[in-house]
Amino acid sequence: MSGTSYFAIRLSLQVALTATTLLVPVGIFFAYILARGRFKGKELLDVVLTLPLVLPPTVTGYYLVILFGRSGPIGGPVYRLTGWTIMFTWEAAVLASFVVALPLMVKISRAAIESVDRRLIDTAYTLGHSETSTLFKVILPLARKGIIAAMALSFARALGEFGATLMLAGNIPGRTSTAPLTIYAYAAGGGLSQANTLVLLFTGIAAVFLFVANRFSRRVF
């Protein structure tokens, strides 16, 4: 395997791992408030969080460029304060993967949280357990399998991110060229043998994660 391919796989794993680490707390937080909370704007929040699942990744990426670009409402102040922009960095690939995989993490975790017997939660409250204590001692342990499945699928999705990553991080060899981007570059440039190796390797990794997801949840996909 060439140095470029090796770098691409390594970068992809690093991006997906970082994105998943962020996805777990954030995804569980949103899953919990959507499953158990009652507040105004819940439907809207659900729709906004689900949008990246159905939008073309390039559209999601476009929004991220608008928001996080040097003159964007988030990226602008950060650039003025620190002189740093996330655009065309490996962190941009993390951000793109995070946003695109978030709907999966939230939807599957939410289903797992909602499947926990309501009476077990109620009993915990009557026994004096706070909502936080009940979350950690009752809800998360009982929703464990679904959450692990959510993590595995989110990781696989983050690993395969292409469109939004291209918009936000570009395809800079040795910097932001993740495996999917590198495969595209190989295929477009006629490097079929290198593309083949990377494609097979990538398929293997993704299959392992789907296998893990299925092991932990029979109801997902």
Binding site: D117, R119, L127, K137
Partner: protein
């Protein structure tokens, strides 16, 4: 002091409007399913919010719509035992019981767990998980868990409905002993008037979200207030 309950609540096509009191005794909420008994229990426990009313038990007021009091379930200190025990499947019997005592030092909690295990004869199954024990044992664990925090009152939602008759008899006796020993009001939901007669000092007859009659079970049986009560009491 016993329980004092006045509640009203409308949901979709059902309305509950009840008022009753009891001394420090075992009071049975008796009626067919769908008459509002479990709803009453959930509102006493703070798991469902009434539209209006007032709930007090032991020495505390938990809910008073006029005074805008509404304690969360965590602060009501009521033991609630659900129909199927609702034990945590991932924890051992011992851990399930300890779960009823969220606060306190490890030594104190351990001591109280041992005390409850002895009281409810659970020493042989202390390390078993809920999936490995019988229905009667599950209910004993649920009782131990509900009582370990020394609640102000005990709420039981058809605690024996899943048990066979011999086990049910033993459990009925156990609940009476528990009531005497802890000396707290017990509110028990049931649709079985024989159970009411053998256990309760007082019965509240529910029908379609209303209270038809309250009194000692013997009185209610001897002098039912109207044909509907006679029907409810006599059917079983």
């Amino acid at each position: 002091m016993g329980m004092s309950v006045k509640l009203s609540k409308s949901v979709k096509d059902f309305s509950l409007d009840v008022e009753w009191e009891s001394a420090r005794e075992l009071v049975a909420l008796f009626g067919f399913s769908g008459s509002g008994k479990t709803m009453t229990l959930m509102m006493i426990a703070g798991l469902m919010r009434p539209d209006a009313g007032r709930v007090g038990g032991g020495s505390g007021i938990f809910f008073d719509s006029a005074a805008r009091v509404n304690l969360p379930p965590q602060q009501r200190r009521l033991g609630y035992v659900m129909q199927d025990a609702a034990l945590l499947p991932q924890m051992t019997v011992r851990k399930n019981i300890a779960f009823g005592l969220p606060r306190g030092s490890a030594a104190e909690r351990e001591e109280r767990v041992v005390e409850m295990i002895d009281l409810f004869h659970l020493s042989r199954i202390g390390d078993a998980r809920p999936g490995q024990i019988s229905g009667g044992q599950k209910q004993r664990v649920a009782l131990a868990r509900a009582l370990i925090g020394r609640p102000r009152a005990l709420l039981l939602d058809e605690p024996f409905s899943a048990l066979d008759w011999p086990v049910r008899r033993k459990m009925q006796k156990l609940i009476k002993e528990v009531q005497a020993r802890f000396d707290i009001p017990v509110v028990m939901v049931t649709h079985d008037f024989r159970e009411v007669k053998s256990m309760a000092g007082r019965v509240v007859v529910y029908d379609r979200g209303r209270v038809l009659q309250t009194g000692a079970p013997g009185e209610v049986e001897a002098e039912p207030a109207g044909s509907r009560v006679r029907e409810l009491v006599g059917v079983r």
